[in-house]
Subunit: 138 residues, 4 copies
Amino acid sequence: MDGYQHKVQYYETDQMGIVHHSNYIRWMEEARVDFLDRIGWDYKKLEESGLFSPVTSVSCRYRRSTGFSDCIRIYVKVEEFKGVKLKLSYKMKNQNDVLVCEASSEHCFQDASGRIVNIKKQCELFYEALMENYSEKE
Amino acid sequence: MDGYQHKVQYYETDQMGIVHHSNYIRWMEEARVDFLDRIGWDYKKLEESGLFSPVTSVSCRYRRSTGFSDCIRIYVKVEEFKGVKLKLSYKMKNQNDVLVCEASSEHCFQDASGRIVNIKKQCELFYEALMENYSEKE
Amino acid sequence: MDGYQHKVQYYETDQMGIVHHSNYIRWMEEARVDFLDRIGWDYKKLEESGLFSPVTSVSCRYRRSTGFSDCIRIYVKVEEFKGVKLKLSYKMKNQNDVLVCEASSEHCFQDASGRIVNIKKQCELFYEALMENYSEKE
Amino acid sequence: MDGYQHKVQYYETDQMGIVHHSNYIRWMEEARVDFLDRIGWDYKKLEESGLFSPVTSVSCRYRRSTGFSDCIRIYVKVEEFKGVKLKLSYKMKNQNDVLVCEASSEHCFQDASGRIVNIKKQCELFYEALMENYSEKE
């Protein structure tokens, strides 16, 4: 799957002259939203079908700094998923194809009342769509 | 009334080495929340009593740049209010008492169904609390 | 000139369920950066040629709320410019072509030492490129 | 050492009605800036003495959601430091003393030319000040 593309904005820089590290967490969300969109299970569809998916952890390793007007490509994969805890991995590369950041995030799924949902059992089609992008596949 | 105090954060700077101008809009909100708190009508109380108050306009004139770890004082006043459209004004000063920004914002009030509420008629105590801080008073 | 396109991100929403009003100020910057790019005078070129352009004021009138995954088109025009103070105007429309926000920003130009630069006199080509997009032209 | 205090702002919430997870990364920076301040080595002093300290990784585990106007206390400790790679840990608690987030960040130190600095060897007083807050001490 092609990477999601983010153009670095001026307001994302800080006084070190580089992108502030907190923005990568937001780019992960952008790429995740795009990823779910591409596999046919966009956020709106999830929320409309009563599924909420809070982020339970994030982790980010910064390899190279990035700067204003850089064009970042973000590649999302399913790292681990048995139905309850979804772990995604992210690789971010700049316009010169240099790896700038490696990251991961974990998510669970809840219904409107806050109960944990097992996607494998209760939403099989979504489970299968996710596992199509399981990282070991490649 | 004393000003609301905001300490400038590193993540609020940009690559020009100064605070990014979009943050002042957020500081206005911080000061407004604090202002409503002080006059006894905090956001939570408003939302719990079914009142929503969307921002309908903002305006900001930047007088001096501010930088990391500056301590900004923000003074809020009621500029105009007859019950429907609330106009607030803001003066921001740095730690050396230099005026750094003058701003204003406009707000309306809605009930849960989105209908416009006339605060003077429907929420008189809140109207009076606001008018205690009418700018012409000073 | 076609509008600049911004897809609304999840992290731009607030607990009212709509886009937080401070983000429009950032979208104005995105559209401005794109505008300068299109007329051949991108930020990097300006900064490399020793020109800095601080924002001296912004103003935003919110017409309709916007929400997650909305696609906003932003149209930038030169509203006023005689060489020193550049005033830009912005019209933002959603995917249904509904006007959601009208805004303006003012900018001056400085050299590296902070001195005000008259663009009409000192950077004529840039002045002409800007005036190609003067709003009265249409 | 007492925790650093952060009052949750309205603009930090998202449409789930809770604080957007990216903000915790910013709070870590706020607490870190405050921590360095308290031990006598604030960011400005570091940058003025030619030391830059990029973030090389962050990691955040969200235990409970937080919401608008919550008051978060953040406790910073030195988790690992031998002079080159500084690892800090963070514990965040809400106003009811409930643990809401556990996090860590890693940092290196560079001089103005980008060379890695060994703090233990080249800036012994700073090293000692940090090690006063080594987590195993408690």
